[in-house]
Every structure is written in structure tokens, then in C-alpha cells.
Symmetry: C2
């Protein structure tokens, strides 16, 4: 037995496994190892195989910090969300994460709860430069000048929820979402429909509530009806907000026979409000939401489904492609939505779904 050396008293840190070890093992230079492992062209097939085998045996993977420094790319992307702990955003992040992991990219989650913070994140060169290769902005309105700044820094940008026209975007057709939901109610025979949403926002191209209202109006107009503005109430896209909004609209003089909630969470609030007011769903009140939140299925909520995880994945894929040099600047991915009819909608005054 070899006498214990002082160095072996402690298990000690793992011996740093570097590219040189692989080079030695494979009998080639470090440059060749680097090329082979990254799949670059100029490597003989036999050499590549040998190198890959050596790396596999040693369980080698390049030190990210070193590659980043040398290559000037971080193999990290950031997803910027207003808040992380909400159903919508955590699902988008989940989708993006899956794609990144698969491609060996790291995913950083950045929160920009306010436009002030967002501006700081974007502007502070150092906060992003050489730290991420690109960003996914999720429902974070990005002014033109900030986008320009990001492009100047050679950062890839993809947006989710809004369309800038300058970078790839993933979104749904919100006019269609509103139309689909309200068309369903109209077909059941509803004429007086309340809307749980939020105030229209500044940038017209990013006004989700406004677009959904527009769609609702189209659906109504098709059968010669109009949306009563007094029946549009703000529910702030939260359960509690939806609850308050529903109470308000359901206690109005001529209360609606159906409600279009722009998010399932607001719809949940409406369910609670209806029960408190002694209204039976769907007999006294029909209700349709948007999202297909996990709770929606259990609740039997009729809703316009968005595949949110998929949105995140699509955005990540678009960004990674862009970083790989594929350039589809104005790519505008419109994700599909679909009406899922469950048990909260029926003909007015009817306990059962109508024709």
C-alpha cells in the first residue's frame, strides 16, 4: 500500500478535468479536441470518433466560463417576465426551459415588474452584455429604442405576447380569442354578455384586452348585436379582481346572462361571485374563460385554450435558431387557440348545453 500523502488526507476537490486531458487521451492537440467536440467541419471522421470516445470515457465537458470568455458567447439566454409566480408566466418559462436544456443552453430568469426596471435591465449594458446571448420578453412591452439598443449589442431578441415587427414573436390572435369565446355564447342564444378584462393599454399593438374586446364586438355584430360598454369591467387578470368585477357586473340593473372572462383566473373569481349571489352556472349564468388553466378542467370551465408551455418553447426555439445565424427577423408565429366546451356554458335559462 502506498503511504498516504498529505494531499490525500481529505477526499479533496475533483481534479480539474481540462481539454488537455482529453487531448492526451486521444493523442491529438487541444485545438482538434475543441473542433471535434463542437462539431466543426475540418476534422477527419476517424479523429472525431476518437476524440468523442475519449471525452465520453473521461466524462468531459468544456468549462462554460472558459468557452464563454474565449468565444465571446455565453450560451445562456434570459427570459424576462413581469413576475415569475403566476400560472401564465411559469408555464412559459417551463416551455423555454425544456428547449434550452435540450440544446445545452442555460436559462436565466429575469423579472421586470415595471417599465422602470425593464429599462434598467435593458439599458445597463453590463447587466446583459457578455452574460446572455439573447432574450425572450414575455408580455413585456419593449419600446423601439430599447430594442435598437439590444440589437446594437448583438443580442438576439424574441417576444412573446406582442409583435414588434422587427424581431420574431410568438403570440395568439387575440381578436380571434375574443371572437371565439363570444361567438360560442352567441350561438347558445346569449345577447347580453358581460366582459371581465382590463383597461386598454398604451401601445396599440400590444393591447391584449382591447383586441379581445374587438373580437367580442365582431362576434356580436355578426348577429346584429352590440357590446354594452357598461358591461365591460376590469378584473386585473387575477382571481380576486375577477371576483370583484363579476360581483359588480352581476349586480347591475340589467345583468348579463353570460360572462366572457379574459383569463381563467378571473373566471374562477366569477364562479365564486355567482355562487355568493345565488346564481347557478350554467342555468342562470354562462361563463367562458381563456387559458385552460389546470383548475379549469376540474371546475368544468368552458374556455379558449392557449398552449402556453408551447409558446415558451416556440420562442426559445426561434431565439436559438437566430443565435445559430438563421435569420428570420420578422417571423411572426401565431399559436393556435381552441374552444374547449365544458359545463359552464348553456343556452340562457337552460340547465343543459343548447344546440
Amino acid at each position: 500500500m502506498a503511504p498516504p500523502t498529505s494531499a490525500s488526507v481529505t477526499p479533496g476537490p475533483v481534479d480539474r478535468l481540462t481539454i488537455e486531458h482529453v487531448a492526451n487521451a486521444a493523442g491529438v492537440s487541444v485545438a482538434t479536441v475543441s473542433r471535434a467536440l463542437r462539431g466543426l467541419p475540418n476534422v477527419a471522421t476517424s479523429t472525431r470518433t476518437r476524440v468523442e470516445e475519449a471525452a465520453r470515457v473521461l466524462n468531459y465537458r468544456a468549462d462554460p466560463a472558459a468557452s464563454r470568455l474565449a468565444a465571446g458567447r455565453s450560451r445562456t439566454i434570459a427570459v424576462v417576465v413581469p413576475i415569475v409566480n403566476s400560472w401564465y408566466f411559469s408555464n412559459v418559462v417551463a416551455g423555454a426551459e425544456a428547449v434550452c436544456t435540450e440544446d445545452g443552453y442555460d436559462l436565466l430568469v429575469l423579472t421586470a415588474p415595471s417599465s422602470t426596471v425593464r429599462r434598467k435591465v435593458v439599458t445597463t449594458a453590463a447587466a446583459l452584455d457578455r452574460r446572455v446571448d439573447g432574450l425572450i420578453f414575455v408580455d413585456v412591452a419593449l419600446p423601439d429604442d430599447e430594442l435598437t439598443e439590444l440589437e446594437r449589442r448583438r443580442l438576439g431578441v424574441v417576444t412573446v405576447g406582442q409583435r414588434t415587427g422587427r424581431v420574431p414573436s410568438v403570440r395568439v390572435d387575440n381578436v380571434d380569442v375574443g371572437r371565439t369565446a363570444v361567438e360560442h355564447l352567441v350561438e347558445l342564444g346569449h345577447e347580453r354578455i358581460g366582459v371581465l378584462g382590463a383597461q386598454a393599454e398604451q401601445p396599440a399593438h400590444f393591447d391584449v384586452p382591447g383586441q379581445r374586446i374587438r373580437g367580442a364586438e365582431h362576434a356580436l355584430a355578426e348577429v346584429g348585436l352590440r357590446l354594452d360598454p357598461s358591461l365591460i369591467v376590469s378584473g386585473e387578470f387575477t382571481v380576486e379582481g375577477g371576483h370583484d368585477a363579476a360581483r359588480r357586473v352581476l349586480q347591475a340593473d340589467r345583468c348579463p346572462t353570460a360572462l366572457f372572462a379574459m383569463s381563467d383566473e378571473m373566471a374562477f373569481g366569477a364562479v365564486i361571485a355567482a355562487r355568493q349571489l345565488g346564481l347557478d352556472i350554467p342555468r342562470d349564468l354562462s361563463l367562458v374563460g381563456v387559458d385552460d388553466h389546470d383548475v379549469a378542467a376540474a371546475l368544468g370551465l368552458t374556455t379558449v385554450r392557449q398552449r402556453v408551455v408551447e409558446h415558451g418553447a416556440m420562442a426559445a426555439r426561434a431565439l436559438l435558431r437566430k443565435l445559430d445565424g438563421v435569420n428570420d427577423r420578422a417571423l411572426d408565429l401565431v399559436a393556435a387557440t381552441e374552444l374547449v366546451v365544458r359545463s359552464t356554458t348553456a343556452a340562457p335559462g337552460d340547465g343543459r348545453p343548447g344546440a
Copy 2:
């Protein structure tokens, strides 16, 4: 006017701002800049001020890849969760994220949906080594050998939800959670109580459902009652699972007058089930959950609140402290929980809350 050079045709990438620029601007060496900016001791106050000013003016921040490579630390931590898009986990991540951002750390989200994946994440040296300085395992059981492996690699570890005894942990007293919930029901006069939970798990020290059941038994025992094993059903901690479980238990021969759901999401399922069965809450059935999910307040659900965001923040703080050299190996942070009485609990057969 200077003639346009070919280099200025395009706006061009931002000129790489390095530590040297700052050194020149401040009239000191790069080493001094490095020390000053990192708040190391051996720097004259006047020098430090001058350097900081120069850095501020130039809007300089060290290139993370370069510091990482040179220092051997990544200033990145990873949070390992089974899934990212769930209420509980996304809130823990949110809490951790806030703390990391504040301390200038990056937060990587890693998912380990199965023990196989977890083992791979932990074992694959390259996947973590030199990429993160430490990890937070959230409700991910970590076998002793894997923990040893991580320590051998000098990675900091903190757990949330379980206690290893070897590294800092953040958790709640689950026996207490169960006792608190059931004590409340017992005090209202309930004697026959159903439990919506999950099967007991392998590692005894991490058996959340088991511990909560234990607490429930204690509460019952205090007044000479016992928990009927046939009233304990698995709800898989989801809305749908809770719905099914509640239906099962509420349709049993001698159906309980109250339900203790081990998560709010299961409680939501129970609310739906009760309504389908024509049971009024709280008149025919009292219900208490655990979590204080956003929807709980809107629903008026009585629940045992856990401050989940805070759990994530506590874990991150403990980890960062550990990385700063502060060593409190077996630190066991037991976060507070509290009963929040709302409107889903009342005396049996009573419409109003009892004494």
C-alpha cells in the same frame, strides 16, 4: 468632418469595455480596480472612491465569464425542482430569484422530474462543476451518496422541504401543520374527519403526507378520538386528484363532516366535488387546506398558510451565506405556518362558524 471609415458604416458592436479602461480612467492598475470594485479590504478609501466613480461613469461591470474563469467561482446558483410550472415551485423560485438578483447572483432553474434525472444532474460532473457554486433542492429527495458527491465537488447545498441534517434546510413543521388544521376542525366539534393527501413516501424524514397525518392523529387523540384509516385518501396534490379523492370519501357509508386537504389545490377539487354532490360548505361539510394559494382567499378557503416565497428566499440567503464562507452546516430553518380561518369551516350542521 472625418471621412467615414469602412468600420463606421454599421453602428458596430459596442466597444468592449474592460477593466483596463477603468484603470486608465482612474489612474490606477487593473488589480486595484478589481479589488476596489469587489469591496476587498486593502484599498485606500480615496482610491476606492475614484475607481468607483470611474466605473460608474463608464458604466462598467466585470465580464462574468472572465471573473468566473479567473476566480473559479461562477456566481450562479441553481434551484432544482421537480417541475417549474406549479404554484408551489414557481413561488419558491420567485423567492430565491429575488434574493439572488439582489446579491448579483444568477439563478439557474434545473428540473429533475424523476430521481433518474436528478441522479444524472448530480452525477454528471460536467453538468454542474464550474457552472454553479451551489444548489437549492426543492422537494427533491437527495440521497446521502449524492450529497457527498456534491460536497466533494465543493458545491454548496441547501434543501427546501426536507431536512438532511448535513446541510442547511428550510422547511415547515409538517406534524404541526396537520395538527393545526385538524385541531381547528376538532374545536368546531367535528369528530369524523377525512384526509386528502398522498401515500406515505420512502424516506421517512421527507414524508410530508405521513407527518401531516401524524399531526392530525395527535389533534384527534387529544380529545380521545382516532383517525379512521378508511377516510385517508390519496389526492396526488392536484386539483383533479383532490376532486376524485373527495368524491370517493364523501360517498362512503359514514361520510365525514369535515375534510383536511393537504394542499389548497386538492381543497379546490373538494369544493367542486361537494357542489356536485349537493353538499353545502360549510353547512354540510367543513374544509381546511394547506398553502394559502392565491385562489384560496378568493374562494374563502380556510387554510394553513405557508409563506412559500419566503421559503425560497430563506434558502437562497442560507446558500449565499454559505458560499461566502459562513458555515452553519446543519442549520435547520423551520418556517412559521399559521391557520387562516375563512368561510369553509364551521361547526357540523351549522351554517355559521362555531365558537
